[in-house]
């Protein structure tokens, strides 16, 4: 299949005088055109750092991409110069940021903020950009008359729509959505997810959806990658991950969500805490919390194993069957 983006061995570290935080470790990921991938993990798993890495927005210092390649349309984004990257960023790859409350400029009108990215990337006159920005507003379900209003006049859900409008204004090939609905209420979340799915279909955009919510992923994505301590521990199609869960961490995640349909008395949480990314265990990073670890896991970091076609697991003792 035709891949829109290939990430190979991406390693990102935050280096300070005292310590080195290994945020992303040898991450491999490919995404086919038109597909949406759910990147799932808990706080500190390195999801956002991965997305910022793709956008070339890692704050440096302290962040450094120490290794790896990000191949987008045949070019390595880590090697091309700043000017070329600027032409890609916002035009071909764009990002929806997590917090709709803080990612808009409070002293510029929402319309101007949408028109800004259109004017940068497409050679349109100010008047034409205004017209296009109004169209974008209408597209995300906001009346065009509100063009000249400021972000504080909008609710959280509306602000997130404005951010989606900015991200989609130049018809990007790849959309990185970083927790686009986490700050929103469920009924508004449903509206926004619906909107993203509709627009994605119309414009045939590929998407990487970053979230910690396995429910949201089930609604929107075709492929799922589970991240833990800067690594992908399980990767596969939606059905493979949800119905044939293999990695103990993924199982733990599913065990932690209260099920709406069955009445379980107690949840099965994962014991312990995420390891300190400045001091990762020598072997498998999940070993200290794992219920089926062995001696081998303590000293060796497992490689990805293909358990069925297109379903990869990074574990020595992967368990077969969905509910073992």
């Amino acid at each position: 299949m035709d891949n829109i983006i290939e990430i190979k061995n991406l390693t990102i570290q935050y280096k300070t005088d005292e310590r080195t935080v290994e945020a992303v470790n040898r991450l491999n990921l490919t995404l086919a055109r038109g597909e949406s991938l759910g990147l799932v993990g808990e706080t500190g798993a390195g999801k956002t750092t991965t997305a910022l890495g793709i956008m070339g927005l890692i704050p440096n210092p302290p962040g450094i991409v120490t290794e790896g390649e990000i191949i987008f349309e045949g070019e390595d984004l880590l090697k091309i110069n700043k000017h070329k990257l600027r032409a890609v960023r916002g035009k071909k790859i764009s990002m929806i940021f997590q917090d709709p409350m803080t990612s808009l400029n409070p002293v510029a009108t929402v319309g101007d903020q949408i028109a800004e990215s259109i004017r940068i990337h497409e050679k349109l006159s100010r008047a034409d950009a205004t017209i296009k920005a109004k169209e974008m507003l209408e597209l995300v379900g906001i009346p065009g008359e509100r063009y000249a209003e400021y972000p504080h006049q909008f609710s959280g859900g509306m602000k997130q729509r404005v951010i989606i409008a900015i991200a989609l204004s130049c018809n990007p090939k790849l959309l990185l959505a970083d927790e686009p609905t986490t700050a929103l209420d469920v009924t508004i979340q449903a509206q926004v997810l619906d909107l993203i799915a509709k627009l994605k279909k119309e414009q045939n955009t590929s998407m990487i959806l970053i979230t910690h919510d396995l429910g949201v992923v089930a609604e929107v994505c075709d492929k799922v990658a589970i991240m833990y301590a800067g690594e992908i521990v399980e990767y596969g199609s939606l059905t493979q991950i949800y119905d044939n869960t293999c990695h103990p961490y993924t199982k733990g995640l599913f065990g932690s969500i209260p099920d709406l349909e069955s009445k379980a008395d107690r949840l099965n949480p994962i014991p312990g805490l995420m390891p300190d990314p400045a001091n990762l265990p020598k072997g498998c990073s999940f070993e200290p919390r794992c219920t089926c670890s062995c001696e081998k896991c303590k000293s060796n970091n497992p490689h990805m194993v293909e358990v069925e076609a297109g379903h990869f697991v990074k574990c020595f003792n992967y368990v077969k069957g969905g509910n073992a």
């Binding site: 509306m158 209420d185 429910g215 089930a218 059905t239 949800y242 969500i257 209260p258 709406l260 805490l273």
Partner: protein, 315 residues
């Protein structure tokens, strides 16, 4: 079982320059000893205000709160302080609800000192703190740590330990797990259930997360813009919902299962302003089935099935 807490026609209005903000409007319910009442609703529906009014962090505008048969709505001074021993609160944000300059031990100890539980017997007090820390799963070595040294899950355990320090009968839990990661959230929920079983605690569990509320509650109240729209047992609510808002709310929850295709009820628009609300049903402007009547008269809670109360003109 006997009734522990009863709330009657509770109202809380805030004065704003634009008019009266109806945060909680005419809410009534009661809680039995040892049960958990879940209060669900979206942001701005008045669920936190309700919790705060019950335990006297806010003065209600109107209405009555009874605790163990006694009207505690207007108590003050020594009696109010006394009542704090029975009622405690766990706050939403474990990052801002704990004093950063106090050690874990002194945070948990403070309520005991204020209420002179151990009459100045330092040794006994110290022992009590360590016991509570053990109950909530905080290691003894953390006693002299400061909150910034700990992660969110441990901080929330401090919040729980502090609420337990006075051995209350009743705890208002205001979104205690919303700020936590799922795997940590499950740990804290299990802890809260264990504590309830061991100590016979009664909880009001305020949250916006429906799957959490289903898991932990016996009864559920659904709130919309300050009003109670539906109330019944947890199992029943998820089987059958009457109120159009509850139906939409439940259908909006993303379910973590592959290949489930559900009919989703998409609500139009957003929550309207709670300042000087229009007469009639608060949900009417977004409701799919709204009739003229809905815009004129506010519906009352009706018992449609035994124990299942709904405020809607459709029924």
């Amino acid at each position: 079982m006997s009734e522990l807490l009863r709330v009657e026609n509770l109202k809380k209005y805030f004065k704003t320059p634009k008019g009266l903000l109806h945060a909680v409007d005419d809410v009534s319910f009661s809680i039995e000893k040892g049960e958990t009442l879940g209060v669900v609703g979206e942001s701005g529906c008045g669920k936190s205000t309700l919790g705060r009014c019950i335990i006297h962090l806010l003065e209600p505008t109107d209405g009555k709160v009874f605790f163990e048969g006694e009207n505690i709505t207007n108590i003050s001074g020594a009696r109010l302080k006394e009542s704090r021993k029975d009622m405690q609160m766990i706050f939403q944000d474990p990052f801002s609800s704990i004093n950063p300059r106090m050690t874990v031990k002194s945070i948990i100890e403070e309520p005991m000192v204020i209420h002179k539980i151990h009459n100045g017997d330092k040794a006994k007090q110290g022992k009590a703190v360590l016991e509570i820390m053990e109950t909530v799963g905080l290691a003894e070595r953390l006693a002299d740590s400061y909150p910034h040294e700990l992660d969110g899950g441990r901080r929330q355990r401090i919040g729980i330990a502090r609420a337990l320090a006075l051995e209350p009968k009743f705890i208002v839990c205001d979104e205690p797990v919303s700020a936590l990661d799922v795997s940590i959230q499950a740990q804290i929920l299990n802890l809260m259930q264990d504590l309830q079983e061991q100590r016979g605690l009664t909880y009001i569990f305020i949250t916006h997360d429906l799957s959490v509320v289903k898991h932990i509650s016996d009864n559920i109240c659904v709130m919309y813009l300050g009003t109670l729209v539906e109330k019944c047992t947890s199992d029943k609510l998820f089987e059958k919902q009457f109120h159009p808002y509850t139906q939409a709310l439940l259908s909006a929850i993303p379910i973590a299962k592959a290949n489930i295709k559900r009919e989703r009820i998409l609500l139009k628009g957003e929550i309207t302003s709670p300042i000087n609300p229009a007469p009639g049903c608060r949900f009417a402007p977004r409701c799919l089935y709204a009739k003229t009547e809905c815009f004129n008269r506010q519906p009352e809670l009706k018992e449609l099935e035994p124990g299942h109360f709904v405020a809607c003109h459709l029924y």
